[in-house]
Symmetry: C2
Subunit: 216 residues, 2 copies
């Protein structure tokens, strides 16, 4: 299998953590995509993933799997422990629900903020981020507000349970953690009045899959 990504970025980190949790790192070859040069917006990459985002998992039969949830489902269903997408119908449902909330409220929100309300990855990529839209910055800033409300929501969740989707670590934790990584990169950290979120973040940082993360 091949993963097309770039080390150190939030969505790529999600899959690198999944691979480390499952002990599958050695089964994957990483191919670097130059996001600064907008390589993921060019025809060669768009043929692989028309949505123009990383990471993409290429299977040995040539099939391209994009979208972190889809890639995680693939890897998680192959084999191994821990199971990150749930075992029972109820577990799977709760994990997918919380995963979607972590996408909408955290990782997508901070990503939109970064690419629209800040210089993002620089001029070349900005040309693909609605440069013609005069209200793009305001829209990005509204997403930062959403991200902050999201942190408050997840703090509440984590004041009642150990992990985002219950008492077990799951893909929803990975998504939320990587969103906070991205936020920290743009200078936004967990506020002091959200202690459950901060404690969870500190606990996750000690997991070997995160502490020893490749390409950190």
């Amino acid at each position: 299998m091949k993963i097309y990504d770039i080390p150190g970025f939030p969505n790529p980190a999600r899959i690198r953590i999944v691979l480390a949790e499952k002990g599958m790192d050695s089964q994957v070859e990483f191919v670097k995509v130059d996001l600064f040069a907008a390589e993921h917006k060019q025809p060669a990459f768009l043929a692989r993933n028309p949505a123009g985002v990383v990471p993409v998992l290429e299977l040995d039969d040539g099939t391209n799997i994009a979208e972190c949830v889809a890639i995680t489902e693939y890897l998680d269903n192959l084999d191994g422990n821990p199971v990150l997408t749930g075992k029972t119908p109820r577990e799977k449902a709760i994990i997918h629900m919380m995963q979607k909330r972590a996408d909408d409220q955290l990782i997508d929100a901070i990503g939109i903020y970064f690419h629209h309300a800040t210089p993002g990855l620089g001029e070349t990529l900005q040309a693909y981020k609605s440069p013609e839209w005069e209200h793009r910055k305001e829209w990005g800033e509204r997403q930062l507000d959403k991200f902050k409300r999201g942190m408050t929501y997840f703090n509440e969740v984590l004041s009642k349970q150990a992990y985002i989707a219950g008492e077990q670590f799951s893909m929803a934790d990975i998504t939320a953690y990587c969103a906070l990584l991205h936020a920290a990169f743009v200078g936004i950290t967990v506020p002091k009045d959200l202690p459950a979120l901060a404690a969870w973040q500190a606990r996750l940082a000690e997991r070997p899959s995160i502490r020893n993360r490749s390409g950190k």
Copy 2:
């Protein structure tokens, strides 16, 4: 089990079609949520789903499952045929990938357009749709452009295969079909130059789960 929803609306229709496909209608009690009165934005409903959207599945143990993908995963993993979320790791991954694209490019896009660039469900609900943001209408219109580009993408997909995620009907088809239902409601139909999408839509309309859909 109970489903909190409102008949005839796009996201509720997704789950009603899932239930009909799985032959599970009779196992569910439907509880109507008054979207026009913004019942889903009030504390009682928000306690059930903090995201404030329908449908929500309430399990017999009182657990609330929100988000259509999560509800579909639950129902699909319980039992029965057809399997809508895939059997093998590869199938599951491709279905989740295409499902995400149908969410982003079609059903979410047309929903944002409807609620921000048109009067939507009327004044009561509009109060919860960023009324303070002076560029909300423009944002909604940009989402309509996204929806139209999405139709073009899915037409291309369907010119090469029978269903959105391959040769089998799946939850990704249900999502895309319900997005087109919503679009038709606001007067946007599949353009004549997208024949594969139109043919797929006509074929799906004949499925018993859709033709005889409850609360249509």
